[in-house]
Structure formats: C-alpha cells, structure tokens
Symmetry: C2
Subunit: 145 residues, 2 copies
DNA sequence: ATAGATGCAAACTCTTTGCAGGTCG
DNA sequence: CGACCTGCAAAGAGTTTGCATCTAT
C-alpha cells in the first residue's frame, strides 16, 4: 500500500504516480519472497495485462534508487525487497529462498570505521544454510524462482 | 599458489591440474579485489594468451564448487574470492570495490536456528558505505571493474 | 500543454553449452 | 590410451535502451 508520504516524496522529485508504478510497488510490498523482476512482472500483469517487462524493470530500478525498495544481487539476477527497515537475511542454499530474519538488538559494529577508514552507512548479516522444507528428507530441492 | 593438498584434492575427484586451471586459481588467489570473470580472463591471458573466456568461466565455477574459491553475486555479475576463511566484506557504494574485513571475535549467532528452524551453515556480515578514496572530495566516483 | 512514463522490439552484457580437437596422467 | 579439458562459436538468460505514443498533473 502506498502511503501519502510516499506519493508526496515521489511528486517532490517530479515523478508521477502512474498506474503501473503504483501496482509494481504494491506487488513488491505485498510479498516477503524477495521477488525477481520476472516474478513482479507476472503478478503485475494479473492486474494490468498490457504492462511491459521494460516498465517493470524501469520502475523497480527507479523505486530502489528513490529508496522505496531495496535491491539485491542474486546468482540468477536481481531481487527486490519491500522491507526497508533493518533486518538480516537467511538464504537457503538448496532452494534459493531468502527469508527475512529480525536483526539482533545490538546492531552496528562501531569499531569498523575506526579500524579501516571506511564510512559505514549500512550493514546486514547474511546467513546461509538449509530451510525447514529442505531439511526434511525428500524436501524441496531444486531452486524455485 | 597451489599447495600439494589442493592438487591432491583435485586429483582425488578425477580432476586434472591443467595449465589454464592452475593459472586461473593463481590469479584469483593473488588478488584481494574479488575479481569478476572478465578481470580474471584479462590477467590469465597475460600468461596464456590463447585461453578462452569459456575456460575461465568453467574453471571458476568448478573451483568454487570444489571449495577452492568462494563465489558471490554482485550487481554487475559474479565475483570470485580466493580467501576461503571466515571474513566479512565492505562494499563501497560509490565505486563498487569490495574489501575484506576481519571477522569479529564472536562469530555465530547461535540463537538463529532455535528461533527459526533454519540450519545455519555459514554467515557473513556485509557492510556498505564509502571507501577512503571515495570519501575524499573529487575522489573516485564511477564504478570500476 | 508538456515533461515524464509506457509499450514494443531490438540491443547489450554476462554466462553457458555443443562440439571437434588437444592434453594430462 | 582414455577420460578429461580446451578453444571457438553460437545460444541463453537477464537487463537496458531507442523511439513513437500516451498520460498525469
């Protein structure tokens, strides 16, 4: 769902809230599956059959650049995340599924900047392993996207 | 440099230590730049001018599958890491450079499995920000690969 | 009215694959 | 010698872009 604040933020930058754009943002925010562009495209087409894949890509990239979405590189392409707040990720090595993990209480390692001269703007811990389904004998095994 | 253990591990699995393969592994291990396949290709060609990009890809993928290298997805393609031990990463959002960061003393968050049912096999913290060069006024700005 | 957005198709980049010939052990 | 590996070229997959048309404001 797009809040009024979001709309204003878009408009302040000379950007329009078009129908495809609204639906694309809706779709990403409505799932926690860290969807690929292709996934978003399929979902958006259910509501807007004539939308093009190029429009989905253009909007995902733009919405990420404007801070409405997070973008993340994956083995088989980009994924998008409607969850902007601080959180970690668990990636299942067997099926490729990415789950959100609540961030631990104490976040920033404040020693890093001092040690290295890097300016740390953000950080996130990535966990890798096997999800519940894939741990079961005969569980899901091939990467589903 | 390839240790005897590495050679044996390869041979045990029916794999050969060919000239391209040896040089590719050398090149990745000789840099801390988390190189792309194209970067490795350029470097390997200095020593082996007739090598093909396909061979570089095939070997990088194979060496990663065998555990000699780590593979990582990036915005503009795969990157490879000769550093197999536990360490974190700092990614410069301005220039795309990825640096290794020594891992903090206490590693695993052992609460995650209990909380979620996930089997955690590995984890790594990713820091994002600006590197020394890009922090300087007039510093490097475009993504270099 | 008009700058920004869209749809379509073509172009691009990165990566993988088929195959004939070469090489390590 | 035989299984594995390589180079080449072509194919695939994901993403971006040019352009005429459309639309939100």
């Amino acid at each position: 769902m797009i809040t009024n604040k979001s709309i204003d933020t878009l408009r302040d930058r000379g950007l329009r809230l078009t129908r495809p754009r609204r639906i694309i943002l809706d779709v990403v925010r409505a799932t926690d599956a860290h969807p690929t562009a292709a996934f978003v495209y399929r979902r958006v087409r259910r509501r807007l059959p004539r939308v093009s894949l190029a429009t989905v890509y253009r909007n995902l990239r733009m919405l990420a650049a404007e801070g409405f979405l997070a973008e993340r590189a994956d083995t088989a392409g980009m994924r998008f995340d409607g969850n902007i707040g601080p959180h970690d990720h668990f990636t299942c090595l067997a099926c490729g599924r990415i789950d959100d993990v609540p961030a631990p209480a104490q976040r920033t390692d404040r020693r890093l900047p001092a040690r290295t001269g890097f300016e740390v703007l953000d950080h996130r811990t990535e966990y890798y392993g096997r999800c519940r389904v894939c741990r079961r004998p005969g569980g899901r095994s091939s990467r589903t996207r």
